[in-house]
């Protein structure tokens, strides 16, 4: 499986999204999944969009097709605490 990770630009200083990618890479290794991480824009089977806030800049930038998973941090604007939500589906219109 070719996995692409697309960052939103990471302007939310309350989050270090790179830790999420590191976790994904560790988990992919641990699970024994036959996989390769590829750069945004390259052919992929799964694109993971890492958004640091509900604005969702990674969604806006993503132009590929195929399966997409979005990781969105919500809530930090109101209670100061990130809470993580996985969303699956096609690219947001």
């Amino acid at each position: 499986m070719r996995i692409c990770v697309q960052y939103c630009g990471s302007c939310n200083p309350q989050l270090d999204l790179s830790q999420i990618e590191e976790g994904l890479r560790r988990e992919a290794e641990r699970s024994g999944l036959d996989h390769a991480f590829v750069s945004p824009g390259e052919e992929n089977d799964l694109c993971i969009l890492l958004n640091g806030c509900p604005v969702g800049c990674a969604d806006l930038q993503h132009t590929g097709s195929g399966p997409v998973k979005r990781l969105l941090a919500r809530g930090w604007k109101t209670d100061g605490q990130p809470d993580w939500t996985w969303e699956e589906g096609e690219k947001t219109p």
Binding site: V5, Q6, Y7, C8, G9, S10, C11, P13, L17, S18, E21, S39, P40, C57, A58, L60, Q61
Partner: protein, 481 residues
């Protein structure tokens, strides 16, 4: 090459043969010299983050000329979204450097000249825009850092350029040749000048026909023959030779590292000349550049204020006063002021519009309001930081005393807050606050991108006072709807 690494950027400065003076001596290697190294490090951050996948959506962009991935600092804004991304990028980088990373000046010069050369050609039939496009393609391809040189020494501020006793107090044309022009004069307070690859020169004020020789815009390699740099002193700069803690921010310094650039009969080939005598376009170029640049201040200063707020809050915890209601109130006020600055930068970007060249331009009234707020709010944020931090900001012992085997234990004993934090932690936080809130940074937020009165001129010009009077007259019954 389209994107340089941070290390490639540092290395790229070494071959440049420039004449740079500081305290009476030459600086040969800006990447290594203690006075300039922190500013090189800050600029290098712009290169590092453009290549980091986590930040590349903000810190890089797709060139509308080549379709290649380029640094956002060499990009021409293609949408209001690009203007917003610029603002987000500037705050993001400032949160990492805590100082000026200098590259926005050239960024704004590129965008201002893109639009103005197009508009000049449209009106006068000149060919400046194509020349500029060739230059822009070169800058983007090589990922060059440009300094935008606008401010002339000005001499007697009461007089226009052509009436100064000394004609060199505004940079001017000396000679037109078949292959180019020769210029003389100086540009003052030039941020990032000693660690840029290119200098982009623009006029400093609107001009009349008599000032034709001063209506110039052009670019030069930073090591062009005849250029001389005098690097300016900063508050406490001798601490760069003394150790680390007392610098406050040893890695990235404070403000941008400014220099006076002297042009001693410098030759500029025609392919690098973008305005030469078209005095009607001097004012629009100044306004365009200034508004782009004033947009930035609500972003990079917000990023710096994030650091100040963080340092003050950490210090309040260390000193055991974080729970005091008046401290919380002051920190809340600092946050409020910071986010107000940022709101202005976002607003003037979101309200940006397309210019005839296709490049997007900020809302000038909102951009100038943002910068005017910076000249007030940053001072207030610093005042609150000093209030919370306490008087030790101005009386701290030196790093040498902290590390001295005889004096150190006394410093540790009397500067430890007794909450578990060490004296060194307290001193480090204090020095960082001192570095960011005293001296040069205050003057920089006041006068960088223009002094407050320059913003008020734009505010009055853009405010639509006639319409406001009409609204008032209608409501109070003087005028009928």
């Amino acid at each position: 090459m389209s994107l340089m690494t941070a290390e490639q950027y540092r290395e790229s400065l070494r071959p440049l043969k420039r004449t740079i003076y500081f305290r009476g001596s030459r600086i040969e290697d800006v990447a290594a010299h203690p006075a300039t190294r922190p500013h090189v490090n800050a600029a290098a951050m712009t290169y590092e983050m453009a290549l980091d996948p986590q930040f590349e959506l903000l810190c890089s962009a797709t060139s509308h000329l080549s379709g290649e991935r380029i640094s956002r600092f060499t990009h021409i804004h293609q949408s209001a979204e690009d203007l917003v991304k610029k603002v987000k990028m500037l705050r993001l980088i400032a949160q990492r450097t805590g100082s000026c990373f200098q590259r926005c000046v050239g960024f704004d010069a590129l965008n201002a000249l893109f639009g103005i050369t197009y508009e000049t050609d449209q009106k006068l039939g000149t060919t400046y825009h194509q020349r500029f496009l060739n230059y822009l393609a070169y800058v983007q391809k090589e990922d060059l850092m440009c300094t935008g040189a606008m401010t002339d020494p000005k001499g007697d501020r009461h007089l226009p350029p052509s009436q100064q006793k000394d004609p060199d107090l505004y940079l001017h044309l000396v000679e037109k040749r078949k292959d180019g022009i020769v210029v003389r004069g100086a540009k003052a307070h030039q941020t990032g000048a000693v660690n840029s690859h290119e200098i982009i020169v623009m006029p400093t004020t609107a001009m009349e026909a008599a000032d034709e020789a001063y209506a110039l815009a052009f670019s030069l390699p930073a090591d062009a023959p005849g250029l001389l740099y005098i690097f300016g002193r900063q508050t406490n700069d001798s601490r760069k030779w003394e150790g680390e803690i007392d610098q406050g921010n040893a890695s990235y310094g404070t403000v941008g590292g400014e220099a006076l650039i002297v042009f001693q009969d410098v030759f500029v080939p025609w392919e690098r000349v973008f305005l030469c005598g078209e005095h009607d376009f001097a004012g629009p170029l100044v306004d365009r550049f200034a508004s782009y640049h004033r947009q930035n201040y609500g972003a990079c200063k917000a990023g710096n204020c994030d650091i100040i707020i963080g340092a003050v809050s950490a210090l309040a915890f260390a000193q055991g006063v974080a729970g005091a209601s008046h401290v919380k109130d002051k920190v809340a006020e600092m946050v409020h002021l910071t986010e107000t600055l940022y709101s202005g930068a976002i607003a003037c970007s979101s309200e940006g519009h397309k210019t005839p060249s296709g490049a997007y331009f900020v809302h000038p009234l909102l951009a100038n309001t943002t910068k005017l707020n910076v000249t007030r709010f940053y001072y207030e944020i610093c005042r609150l930081a000093h209030d919370i931090a306490g008087g030790y900001l101005a009386t701290m012992p030196s790093e040498q005393d902290l590390q001295d085997p005889r004096i150190g234990p006394l410093v540790e004993k009397y500067f430890s807050p007794g909450t578990g934090a060490s004296a060194e932690e307290r001193l480090r936080l204090g020095r960082l606050i001192e570095n960011m809130t005293c001296g040069a940074p205050l003057v920089e937020v006041m006068h960088g991108a223009g002094s407050p009165q320059a913003m008020k001129i734009i505010l009055l010009r853009q405010a639509g006072l006639e319409q406001k009077m009409k609204l008032a007259r209608r409501l109070c019954g003087i005028e009928k709807p």
